[in-house]
Amino acid sequence: MKIGFIGLGIMGRPMALNLIKGGHSVTVWARRTESMQPLLKAGALAAASPADAARGSELVISMVADAPDVAEVMRGVAAGAAPGLVAVDMSTIAPAAARRIGEDLAAAGVDFLDAPVSGGEVGAIAGTLSIMVGGSEAAFARAKPAFECMGKNVVHVGAAGAGQVTKAANQIVTGMGVLAVAEAYAFAAKNGVDRSKVREALMGGFAYSKILENHGQRMLDRNFKPGFKSWMHEKDLNIVMQTAHELGLCLPGSAATAQMFNAMVGSGLGEEDSIAVLKLLERLSGQE
């Protein structure tokens, strides 16, 4: 399949590489031309603009930072689109923003899918991302072969915006999950109990989770290298809280968690992994 790929950051680059490995013909564009180099070496073609990446493609994928970037890129895509093009945004943005972008593209005759991912850089490199998709059945069927090169767990959740709603739900669970494990560790330590033993004991029971296993281990190792940067988690939780505000939705746990992530960004932990929330807790309780 001819695929245009826009945005070649930490996530976008390995995802585009996996499309090439999967035998697709990939044309890439990135704001910084130097980030296109590794893809060109791997056999990708270079586009001069988002419109150029869309021209002649059956599928265009964007993986950029924020909603305004997606909107801007997709305006270009609409300008270069051939009839029947499917545009896929895999960035994490607000569900309402995704729906608006989908409507704008529909007006230009382009079918749109919101398809944010979970699994981080490791999952992007290994091609094992979870991909949560919103949009029409027909567009999903068209894009599915591409999704299968990048991810393992590909779920068509519902109509436009449903992918972003799912991703926001994912960030609620992971955000609170990381905070929960960090609080359990702080609790154990302040009580003079060995956290690694606590983790070991919890692993077999109902408190078991992937977060306890992976993030919990990294907390014990005090390995705060990202992974998933806490400023990005803060951004995603802000999407959750803004949406809750607009909908009239009471989310006290998410609200408290979002404030902890605010504080992380404000106190210089934004570039560290989200497990650095443990450091913030320790600071607050005088456990440093």
Partner: protein
């Protein structure tokens, strides 16, 4: 002085009346011309036309976007106001929006004050508003005689945006206090104790406050008709949390109170009084 007024709602209308009674010539513009009925004022076709006639223009409107539109949009104040004239924005908007608008107007030599108010509809009618001003001190001094017609307490907080920051702080404290009073009333009722007596007992002690007085009384009487519509507090809490996010500071209590306001909105009580936070608790 020729004074313009945009935004003739529950706050703006009595405020405009005070300015006029103090002997100033009043010019008004409103999206719905009917809202100017009964005011002895010159109705202008656009904000730009109003701006052309006035030395000082007041705006008292709801959202950051509305203020931006009236000030900087097509036929906005910026197209009419002369260099040296002053926009006094009494709306509650984001500090950042206030700074941006001030900067754009400044390019044309038009001065701006962000001057949000506290005191509610009653304070506007009684001319007892607390006014928190952000902007240049010299500009504030020029319009102070007008502000003195509206309120008892005019404080220069700092440069542009500082007035809105003060207003955000005001809203945080006030609504959190309303939530605290609601929870106290809830605990009293759930314990089988008379809320009115509890409120009476607390009035003399360390927990005494204006919020306990006014909002506690509403809760005791179960009078949830709006003084201040809860939807406005809900809007303000959105601004406060956004400001906190931009500064990277944690505000755990504000965040939780915001969730109670979200629940209030979901119940359809946005046009009722914020004392309805008690009803949110009762719906558990």
């Amino acid at each position: 002085m020729k004074v313009g007024f945009i935004g003739l709602g529950v706050m703006g209308r009595p405020m405009a009346g005070h300015i006029q009674r103090a002997g100033h010539e009043l010019f008004v513009w409103a999206r719905r011309p009917a809202s100017a009925d009964g005011l002895a004022a010159t109705f202008c076709a656009t904000p730009a036309e109003l701006g052309r006639q006035c030395e000082v223009v007041f705006t008292v409107i709801t959202s950051s976007d509305d203020v931006k539109h009236v000030a900087l949009g097509e036929n906005g104040l910026i197209e009419g106001m002369a260099p040296g004239s002053v926009l006094v924005d009494c709306s509650t908007i984001a500090p950042e929006a206030a700074r941006n608008i001030a900067a754009r107007l400044g390019e044309k030599g038009i001065a701006m004050l962000d001057a949000p108010v506290s005191g509610g509809a009653q304070g506007a009618i009684d001319a007892t508003l607390a006014i928190m001003a952000g902007g240049e001190a010299a500009v504030l001094e020029r319009v102070r005689p007008l502000l003195d017609c509206l309120g008892k307490r005019v404080v220069h907080v700092g440069p542009n945006g500082a007035g809105q920051v003060a207003k955000a702080c005001n809203q945080m404290i006030m609504v959190a206090a309303i939530q605290a009073v609601a929870e106290a009333m809830r605990l009293a009722a759930a314990s089988g104790v008379d809320c009115a007596r509890v409120k009476q007992a607390l009035a003399g002690g360390s927990a005494a406050s204006r919020v306990l007085d006014v909002m506690g009384e509403r809760m005791v009487r179960r009078d949830f008709s709006a003084g201040i519509e809860a939807r406005l507090h809900h809007k303000d809490y959105g601004l406060v949390l956004e400001a906190a996010r931009k500064c990277g500071v944690a505000m755990p209590l504000t965040a939780v109170v915001a969730q109670q306001l979200n629940a209030l909105m979901a119940q359809g009580w946005g046009r009722d009084d914020t004392a309805s936070l008690l009803r949110v608790l009762e719906g558990q």
